[in-house]
Symmetry: C2
Subunit: 267 residues, 2 copies
């Protein structure tokens, strides 16, 4: 009796496992493979790779295939490849069982051209192969074509992170634009600040604490409330003095962003 | 003999103390008073205030004066008041002993019109009265008119922070401009990102981890190395798609900053 109880438990356990197949061998695939390999709720049945690229970064226990015909049946197939190849590769997936998701923030759900149900699992973070990502705090934007698939994708996503956001294709496109401002453009402001430090022979280190505080403040207040500085106070004499000291490129940027801040606070 | 040894030690201790007077009652004065009051190496002899503003935020043990004629002799007089009043108040300081410093990033050393030696102690951080600042990690930019005063000002600064930077008036002016980019303008990028979230009915929370990571990266690499995104990769088709979705103000900003990033990485 004990043995049959044991098997019953074991089969229940197996039935709760989410079986996945990973398609791709880039940064996102490497990071997802690493995270899912550690999960007790997810079994990575296979990974598909066109080449042997990045083989060294993957868990050796995950079987590799190089031919899509060898794909096993799984609950979820995750396509983590370059944006432009998603349609091409998904077109070759002729099976109708299971859920096929891509991981690209800027691609619509219907970039997937597979026969099976479609979805998106978009981790909003910059990835590199070398450094293992701690998914725990990384927001995951989820979308499924069919409502009934959402719970399964959510269950998979929850094994990675507590920060789950249902976002449709349109919202995800906007999120991508918002992230360009919040990440790329903010970083470019840091770049310009560093250039000014370098040109004037003092260390960029002096700015690092205020950069960190600027980001940390977002946990306590909105960016609208957090704003300070000459444009916030509409101090045109300070702005003019600053502009006079900048080269043409920085001048144009300083003027435009200051004008936008002034417009926000002094409409 | 024990008693005379005790007194000798006590007098040595006293002679090592830095005696200061605080002039002003704004945020910076409140924060400096709080930090110096806790220091065993600094004695705050007095503080001067024109009104009773913010009295509740100051340590009750610091004697307040309202007339500059009552000023005691000190090693360092710190003027922490609005930029535009620094010249006016310093003009009224007729004594020639001691060092008079202001705390304004955007004001030159010679905004001080006092008879005594001049200097600047500029804490690079945004201040508010309500929240006690932990000076330990706040960079302090120091300048003295006379070389021989630098050590004293540095000794005082070191009681607050380990991050001390000697910067002359010209460098400090540039630092202020650099900080506008690194703090005010980066924050405005967060503001625009939040607007996009709000307009499309998803939470700005989804962007907070990437904002924090953007700032944290500065500890590991330069902003030049940290850059990612469509402009970094010169993906004009993505940029055009994004621009097409933005209102005129955001469009202009997106275009200009993207152009600047492209110019940086694809000259």
């Amino acid at each position: 009796m004990f043995i049959s109880f044991f098997f019953a438990c074991y089969f229940m356990y197996l039935s709760q496992m989410i079986n996945i197949v990973l398609i791709g061998s880039g940064n996102v695939a490497v990071q997802l493979a690493g995270a899912f390999s550690k999960s007790k709720k997810v079994a990575v049945l296979q990974r598909f790779s066109r080449s042997n690229a990045n083989d060294g970064y993957f868990d050796k226990n995950i079987p590799v295939i190089h031919d899509l015909k060898e794909l096993k049946q799984a609950d979820i197939y995750i396509i983590a490849i370059a944006d432009k190849s998603i349609s091409d590769i998904s077109k070759q997936l002729k099976f109708t069982q299971g859920l096929v998701v891509h991981t690209a923030g800027s691609m619509p759900l219907d970039a997937l051209l597979c026969a099976a149900n479609k979805g998106v699992l978009y981790p909003l973070q910059t990835f590199s192969k070398e450094q293992p990502i701690r998914f725990k705090n990384i927001p995951l934007a989820l979308e499924t074509e069919k409502k009934e698939d959402y719970k399964l994708l959510e269950a998979l996503a929850k094994t990675l992170s507590a920060k789950i956001y249902p976002l449709d294709t349109g919202q995800r496109r906007k999120l991508h634009i918002a992230a360009v401002f919040a990440n790329n453009f903010a970083n470019h402001m840091f770049k310009i600040a560093k250039d000014i430090c370098d040109e004037n022979n003092f260390s960029f280190d002096i700015l690092k604490p205020i950069i960190l505080e600027t980001a940390n403040k977002m946990e306590r207040m909105s960016p609208m409330e957090a704003q300070t500085g000459p444009a916030r106070r509409n101090e045109t004499h300070v702005i003019e003095k600053h502009v006079a000291e900048l080269d043409p490129d920085k001048k144009e940027m300083y003027t435009l962003i200051s004008r936008s801040i002034i417009k926000t606070y002094h409409p």
